[in-house]
C-alpha cells in the first residue's frame, strides 16, 4: 500500500514537471505569436512567423508582406514581446527567491526599496539631468538608483545589526519610503508640464523596447537566473528556518545577502527598461507552487515561464483595452495581482 503510493508519488513527480515545462513552452510561443499579431494594426499569424523566420534565415520563406508590416513585427512588436518575456521571467524569479530567503510569502522585488531607487534615478534623468547619454540615460540612472537603494538597505540593516529575515524586510520598507519621499521632492521641484512623462514611467510600460538595448537585460537575466538555479537546493533549505539551514552547512547571512544583490541586479535592469511593474514577483511563484510543488529546482524555471506568459498577456491587454492608446501595464498587473491577492487570502483562511 505504502509502496504503491510512494511509487505513484515518484511517477507523478517525474511526469509532472516535463509536462508542465512543455505545456508552458507551447503556451509561451502561442502567447508570443498573439502578442505580435494583436494591436492597432492587426498582423496575421502566418505573417508574424514569416517575418521572424525570414529574419533568422533570409530567403527561407517568400516575402508576401509589405515593408510596413515587416517593420511593425520586427522593429516594434517583437522586441517589445521579448522584453515582456524577460521582465516577467526576471521579476517572478526574484520574487520566488526573496520569498525563500525572507521566509515571507509576501516578499516581492519592490519590497526591498529596489524599485523606488530605480524610480528616483529615472525621475532624475527625465526631469533634471537631461539625456546626457542619449536613450540609455533613463535606464542607466534607474539601474544605478536601484543598486544604490539596495546598498542603502544593506548598510541600514548592518547598522541596525539586523541580518534576520523579517528585520531585513522592515529595513527595505523603511528605506523605500525615504527614497520615495526624495523622488517626490524631485517631481515637486520640476516643471509641472514635464511630470506626465514621470507618471507614465512610474506606472510601467514596455514601449521603450528596442533591439539595440535588449542585450543588457538578457545578459544580466541569464547570469543571475543561472546562479539562482545553481542555488535552488539552498533556497529549499532556507524555507525551513535560519538555524536549521545553518546546521545544513549554509552560510545563512551571506547567502541571503547574495540573493538580495542578485535580486537587485535583475530588478534594477528590468525597472530600468520597463518602469515599475508590480505584483508579478509576488503572484507568479504562488501559482507555480500550486502546480509543481515547493522544490525550487522546479519553482524557479516554472516562475520564469509563467511570469513571461503573464506579462505577455498583461501587455496585450494594456495595448488593446484602450486602443490605440497604450495603457500603462502596471495598471493591468496591479489590478490582476490585487484581485489574486484577495483570493489568496480567502483561500488561506479556508485552508486553516
Amino acid at each position: 500500500m505504502a509502496e504503491t503510493r510512494s511509487a505513484k508519488a515518484i511517477i507523478h513527480r517525474f511526469s509532472g514537471m516535463p509536462a508542465f515545462l512543455l505545456g508552458g513552452m507551447v503556451l509561451l510561443l502561442v502567447s508570443l505569436s498573439f502578442a505580435i499579431s494583436v494591436g492597432a494594426v492587426p498582423v496575421p499569424l502566418n505573417t508574424v512567423w514569416g517575418v521572424i523566420l525570414n529574419r533568422i534565415a533570409p530567403g527561407f520563406i517568400e516575402e508576401t508582406w509589405s515593408q510596413s508590416r515587416e517593420a511593425i513585427v520586427w522593429e516594434i512588436r517583437f522586441p517589445r514581446a521579448l522584453l515582456a518575456i524577460m521582465v516577467g521571467a526576471g521579476l517572478a524569479m526574484v520574487g520566488a527567491s526573496l520569498q525563500a530567503v525572507t521566509r515571507n510569502p509576501l516578499a516581492d522585488p519592490h519590497l526591498l526599496g529596489i524599485s523606488s531607487g530605480g524610480a528616483f534615478g529615472a525621475i532624475l534623468a527625465l526631469l533634471h539631468t537631461g539625456l546626457f547619454v542619449g536613450h540609455l540615460t533613463v535606464p542607466l540612472l534607474a539601474f544605478l538608483g536601484a543598486l544604490a537603494a539596495t546598498a542603502i538597505v544593506l548598510i541600514v540593516s548592518r547598522f541596525a545589526n539586523t541580518m534576520s529575515a523579517d528585520r531585513l524586510v522592515l529595513a527595505g520598507v523603511a528605506v523605500s519610503f525615504i527614497i520615495m519621499a526624495g523622488a517626490n521632492v524631485l517631481v515637486f521641484l520640476a516643471d509641472p508640464k514635464a511630470t506626465h512623462i514621470v507618471v507614465f514611467w512610474m506606472l510601467g510600460g514596455l514601449g521603450l523596447a528596442q533591439w539595440s538595448q535588449l542585450l543588457y537585460p538578457l545578459v544580466i537575466l541569464l547570469i543571475c537566473a543561472g546562479w539562482l538555479m545553481f542555488k535552488a537546493k539552498d533556497l529549499n533549505a532556507m524555507t525551513v528556518g535560519d538555524e536549521t539551514a545553518s546546521t545544513l552547512g549554509i552560510p545563512v547571512a551571506r547567502f541571503r545577502l547574495s540573493v538580495f544583490v542578485v535580486g537587485a541586479l535583475i530588478t534594477g535592469v528590468m525597472v530600468a527598461f520597463s518602469g515599475i511593474i508590480g505584483f508579478v514577483g509576488l503572484m507568479v511563484p504562488h501559482v507555480v507552487r500550486m502546480a509543481v510543488g515547493g522544490d525550487y529546482a522546479r519553482v524557479l524555471p516554472g516562475s520564469a515561464l509563467i511570469g513571461a506568459i503573464f506579462l505577455l498577456w498583461a501587455d496585450i491587454a494594456a495595448r488593446t483595452v484602450m486602443a490605440p492608446e497604450d495603457m500603462p501595464i502596471g495598471i493591468v498587473t496591479g489590478l490582476v495581482g490585487g484581485i489574486f491577492f484577495v483570493w489568496l487570502l480567502g483561500r488561506q483562511r479556508s485552508a486553516i
Binding site: S6, A9, N236, E243, S246, G294
Partner: protein
C-alpha cells in the same frame, strides 16, 4: 552510523553588544554513543549552549571539539556532515513535501553542479523515511501534518545528514504522551552521540546517560542523572522544593516539585 566524541572546554558566550554573559565557562566531555540531557529553568542558557554546539554561535571563549577537531577550524559544511540538529523552528509552508524536506538532509554532502542527487543519497533518504515510518506521508505537505508527524519529519531530515552527533532542542515539546515516549525511545535506539535539552527532569533521568544542569548560565552539575539531579541541586536551580520519592511499583526514583516545604499546605 558512527558516533562522535564531544568535548567542550572553557566554553562561554556573551552577545555581540557585550551585554550579559549568557553562558559562563563550561567544560564537559561526552563519550561516543552517550546521551546527554541539558536541563535547567527557562533562561538558564540551554538554547545558548546548544547553539554553540551546532556552530550557530561563535564562542566568546573556549572550544567545542568533535572527535578532536575544533568545529570553528572546520567549514560549516564539514561540521554539517558530522552534526545535525532538530530545532523548534516551525518551517513556513512553502509547499515542500515530506520527501523533499528529508532530502534536505543531504545538503552538506552535495557535490557538483546544482547538487544532483546520486543513488546513494536516495537510499539514505529512504532509510531515514523508513526508520521514522514516514513512507506513507512522503508526498504530503508539511503544513498538513500533526505536530508529532512534523517532529518525526525533522528527525528523519537530521538522520539523512548521517551525523555522528545529533542535537535536539526540546524534542518532546507540544507532543502528547505517546509521541513523547516514541521520541525518547528513538533517542535511546539511535547509535549516535546525542545532546538534547529537556524540560521534564524525570524524562531526562529516564533517558539520559548524563545530564548537565544549568542555572543562570552556569553549569552547576554534570554526570549521571541520579547524582546530578539531587533534591538540593534541583531545588536550588529551579527555585522550588524538589523531593525525590520512590515509585512503589517500579521502584524507581521520581522527583516531585512543590512551591513550599511540605507540610505548609493551605
Amino acid at each position: 552510523m558512527k558516533a562522535a566524541k564531544l568535548s567542550v572546554e572553557d566554553l562561554s558566550w556573551s552577545s555581540d553588544r557585550g551585554a550579559a554573559t549568557l553562558l559562563h565557562s563550561t567544560s564537559f566531555s561526552l563519550d561516543t554513543g552517550r546521551v546527554l540531557g541539558i536541563v535547567g529553568p527557562n533562561g538558564a542558557g540551554k538554547t545558548t549552549l546548544l547553539r554553540l554546539l551546532y556552530r550557530f554561535y561563535r564562542p566568546t571563549t573556549g572550544t567545542v571539539r568533535i572527535d578532536g577537531d575544533d568545529i570553528w577550524s572546520l567549514s560549516a559544511q564539514a561540521v554539517a556532515r558530522r552534526v545535525a540538529a532538530v530545532l523548534q523552528e516551525q518551517p513556513s509552508d512553502f509547499a515542500l513535501t515530506v520527501g523533499e524536506i528529508v532530502a534536505l538532509g543531504r545538503t552538506p554532502h552535495r557535490r557538483g553542479i546544482g547538487g544532483a542527487t546520486g543513488s546513494r543519497d536516495k537510499v539514505i533518504v529512504e532509510d531515514a523515511l523508513d526508520r521514522l515510518e514516514l513512507r506513507g506521508l512522503v508526498g504530503r505537505h508539511l503544513g498538513t501534518l500533526s505536530g508529532g508527524e512534523r517532529q518525526r519529519v525533522m528527525v528523519a531530515r537530521a538522520l539523512a545528514q548521517e551525523p555522528r552527533l545529533l542535537i535536539l532542542d526540546e524534542p518532546t515539546n507540544h507532543l502528547d504522551i505517546r509521541h513523547q515516549l516514541e521520541v525518547l525511545d528513538l533517542i535511546r535506539s539511535l547509535p549516535l552521540t546525542i545532546v538534547t535539552s529537556l524540560h521534564d527532569l524525570n524524562l531526562a533521568a529516564g533517558v539520559c546517560d548524563d545530564v548537565l544542569l544549568l542555572h543562570s548560565g552556569h553549569a552547576v552539575g554534570f554526570g549521571p542523572p541520579a547524582k546530578v539531579l539531587s533534591e538540593v541541586a534541583v531545588s536550588d536551580a529551579f527555585q522550588i522544593v524538589a523531593r525525590k520519592e520512590q515509585l512503589s511499583l517500579s521502584n524507581t526514583d521520581h522527583l516531585t516539585f512543590h512551591l513550599q516545604k511540605q507540610g505548609s499546605h493551605s
